[in-house]
Subunit: 338 residues, 2 copies
Amino acid sequence: MKTISIAKGDGIGPEIMNATLAIIKASGAAVNFEEVQLGKEVYLSGNTSGITPEAWESIRRNKVLLKAPITTPQGGGYKSLNVTMRKTLGLYANVRPCASLHPYVTTKHPDMDVVIVRENEEDLYAGIEHQQTPDVVQCLKLISRPGCEKIIRYAFEYARYNNRKKVTCFSKDNIMKQTDGLFHKIYNEVAQEYPDIEKEHWIVDIGAAKVADSPEHFDVIVMPNLYGDIISDIAAQITGSVGMAGSANIGESVAMFEAIHGSAPDIAGQKIANPSGLLRGAIMMLNHIGENEAAQSIHNAWLLTLEQGIHTADIFKENISSRKVNTEEFAHAVIANM
Amino acid sequence: MKTISIAKGDGIGPEIMNATLAIIKASGAAVNFEEVQLGKEVYLSGNTSGITPEAWESIRRNKVLLKAPITTPQGGGYKSLNVTMRKTLGLYANVRPCASLHPYVTTKHPDMDVVIVRENEEDLYAGIEHQQTPDVVQCLKLISRPGCEKIIRYAFEYARYNNRKKVTCFSKDNIMKQTDGLFHKIYNEVAQEYPDIEKEHWIVDIGAAKVADSPEHFDVIVMPNLYGDIISDIAAQITGSVGMAGSANIGESVAMFEAIHGSAPDIAGQKIANPSGLLRGAIMMLNHIGENEAAQSIHNAWLLTLEQGIHTADIFKENISSRKVNTEEFAHAVIANM
Ligand SMILES: CC(C)[C@H](C(=O)O)[C@@H](O)C(=O)O
Ligand SMILES: CC(C)[C@H](C(=O)O)[C@@H](O)C(=O)O
């Protein structure tokens, strides 16, 4: 029995987490859950890190966290907990698969099947900002050789292990010759060790345009942190909804799994949220800990549910063979299909 | 008679510039052209700035430059001439209209009509990079209050003058609280002076996703330099082709007009390139200098050409009412329609 740390998050977090946990339990996966406290309540209790010492302790002990989206309170200089956790736990790789579910989910891009591999610790996310004069502020973009090597090697290993054919690199080294230049250079170096995998490079502006227009061109794409943030949202959204994509944050010792979307406070408490993003994070988690059978059976049941036209409001389209359900009904349908 | 400085550029530059100049001449606009030297040849002659003193002199005298895309040679630490010119001439506003031409140009987004107003001098484009240790490199993202005020006020003035209803701001101030935070804060301040124009803010990741998926949601969008680089390429591409969009770089005294695409060396010399991007830059230029009638008649003739199904290879689709033409034939068709 493996114990997983669980954070229920804020906004729609608890609703989608409860749905996800019910599905995991029904799958027969050999896992226990240990709930930890982090997010809005913790911030507002005066702990400006947003996470309790007990939560750190639990995550470090269990080495796996399933985390619902959280809300960072506005103002007061609260630091993003997502970023704190990625950095503190050394979660260097953020993996975001974005594949079309055509014809079950409406999309303009039926053939897309892209995996964004996003560097997750460096770049402008290093969090080094300061005020130079009253009128001028700066933020430091940091890129290191070991950071580049780790993420780029991860992307190629991921491609090889998952039978992917191509790893594309995005950077903007026509402008940032040293920082993005280093990322591109190390990509070229590492790629030589993987002659079986096709390599390709795009400047990030026109690369992003290609993703938005013809995502089926791409397979695995590796890129620095901020580009990965922007382009994974684009790729997820054009599969049909940003609410459908899960995300794995992988470190040497700990891994964190989540939905790629936010806590959507505007619809919180209405029980209409789509649990699919978090559920897909959970499926990635089950594979990560070796519960491959449970992962597969959840994935199949979830797909079957979509095939049956059972949809939450965000992706529901009025249609003779579709049924609009709430969060719990969706979870029950997945469980019934298992 | 107004004199315009002209740079023919590299790659497909001379082909599309000759087509564009022929069309301007045929429009009867009261303009003369003065050719200046900048780009690849100048770089390779040993002038690492890529631009001759005579070119600076001409541009400063004429105050208006129409520039074809150029190629910066790889390696050798050549600085981007685009960036040098934007900074040296104080071209703080980069305006990039991206509207669908449905049904004449195939697009998945028939109702889009977005104008990206991109800050054009600051951000990571300030060009301040250095190596901290052999393994760590840095780039400085710079944001200033005067820089933000100028571009945000420009966006609202543009909206008012062009009868636009909404100015949206994109930033990532959940992470970059000081730099992007300042941009967002000044947006809120300036927006108060324009109560007639709707305001709205998106975090750039999910904002980019919304542009890629539902661009018809947006009207004018104002944002820092690098986001503007990425998002204007996305917006242009999903109208049908990045080859269709023009760009105005506006300063207090000088303005530069160009296509948003690059010099496409792979198809250079074949005379198949689409001159539309540069032509639309030229139309913006004619409006800028008060040649509104010529601008309008070129625009109408160009639209009519597309309506007639006369297309260069990049946007041509096999179709009973379409004809594939080369660069010169396209220009002749526009002239014939004038
Ligand atoms: C919430 C935010 C800090 C986070 C990020 O910027 O990384 C989110 O957008 C994501 O992509 O996981
Ligand atoms: C060529 C390059 C320097 C330029 C930029 O990054 O601004 C281009 O992509 C653009 O958008 O005009």
